[in-house]
Symmetry: C2
Subunit: 234 residues, 2 copies
């Protein structure tokens, strides 16, 4: 029996992914009142700053206690339990948006080879992509994903606002964004880079900066990323 | 007969896309020596700053003269020809990387309804997504695509470097990046935003900034985009 403590996006998606593969239940993190005493693995899937506190409230048992966070070290669970682990899915979860779970990379850490094995088996139930990562590696994975996902989405938000001024629907950019990612399956970002910055096309760059004069925040981001690409730092 | 003047990424891809749909030839932009006198449409697909010059060198004829640039106004072709247009594909072209052309949005502008009709017909040979855009709209499309494509690729480059430090292959981020784009088919960027900045998770943000202390350029980009998201500007 797998118990998922939490009710946010990650908890909900993990429950959905596991529910037709194994016996699984969701547990309210505030009360823990439905926590099954015979759980084999208890996944704590709550906000980072609540993980330790919830772990302390879980009664000691033979269960493996694992969290699902990119940023929190394994040791955060140590104080209250012996068999601890991390079960980190590298993905952006949004309620109501379905996912192909088999493609999601999971990163496992565990307090013993036996814990690692059990968490790997759990990951393999839903994903073809189960890996190991220690707490330092996981922190870097999380940081990298902020650039690749969260910031990419923010850039899409800027694009949308620019297109709105021209009366053009944002959806027109989706094929371009898909191809931007698809290229990275075969090319490094350095080789995949296109656009005025990498060409050193200062006429276009100056025109764009001028177009953004009334949007100083967009202009700052444009300048910084253009300079970064021009400097050959990607 | 369609003549494509150029030999860069866009010219090569347009030639490939059109070659099994209609009669098409590629013309060396330096010499123009193989330019067919009976061409119906001449597509000038060269770097922005060479477009006007090449247009002037093309002998006057009944052909439609069109360029394929996002940034150059239609008027850049006016001085030397009567029937002028723009045939702008919104996509990132890299030699050797194949594409599903039917999904590429094309944006058309023309000096007369007849020119517009002919360029639309040309676009429809290869794409299901042919639209109109005047020069101002096209400039905004190009600017938006710099954020959505060129800058997104640069962020991927940063992610790759962060993962390299942890000995993790960049390919592990591809499913996350794909889902980041897929979500935007159904959600606005505002609703799709996840991560520490939108959650206001200052502990994670401070940890990330500290991790980037030895990479001041990455740190600057992290700060600026985090602030942008925190301010609710996406």
């Amino acid at each position: 029996m797998i118990a998922i403590v939490g009710r946010g996006n990650v908890a909900t998606h993990l429950f959905e992914a596991l529910s037709n593969k194994t016996e699984v239940c969701m547990v309210n993190p505030r009360t823990l009142d439905s926590l099954p005493l015979d759980a084999d693995i208890i996944l704590i899937s709550v906000s980072d700053n609540a993980i330790s506190e919830i772990a302390k409230k879980i009664p000691q048992s033979d269960a493996i206690i694992a969290h699902t966070s990119g940023s929190i070290p394994l040791e955060a669970l140590d104080t209250s339990h012996n068999r601890t682990g991390v079960f980190y899915p590298l993905q952006t979860f949004t309620k109501g948006v379905s996912l192909d779970y088999r493609e999601i990379p999971f990163f496992i850490e565990g307090s013993s080879p036996e814990v690692i094995k059990k968490l790997k088996n759990l990951g393999s139930l839903i994903s073809n992509n189960v890996n190991m990562a220690d707490s330092e590696q996981r922190k870097k994975l999380h940081l990298a994903s902020v650039f690749a996902c969260n910031f990419t989405n923010a850039l899409a938000g800027i694009s949308k606002q620019i297109l709105e001024e021209a009366g053009i629907d944002f959806s027109t950019l989706i094929p371009l964004m898909k191809q931007t990612v698809n290229k990275l399956e075969n090319l490094t970002p350095e080789k995949a880079q296109t656009g005025p910055a990498v060409r050193g096309d200062s006429i276009v760059i100056d025109t764009h900066l001028k177009m953004l004069e009334n949007q100083p925040e967009f202009q700052k981001i444009y300048s910084l990323l253009t300079q970064f690409i021009k400097n050959g730092q990607i």
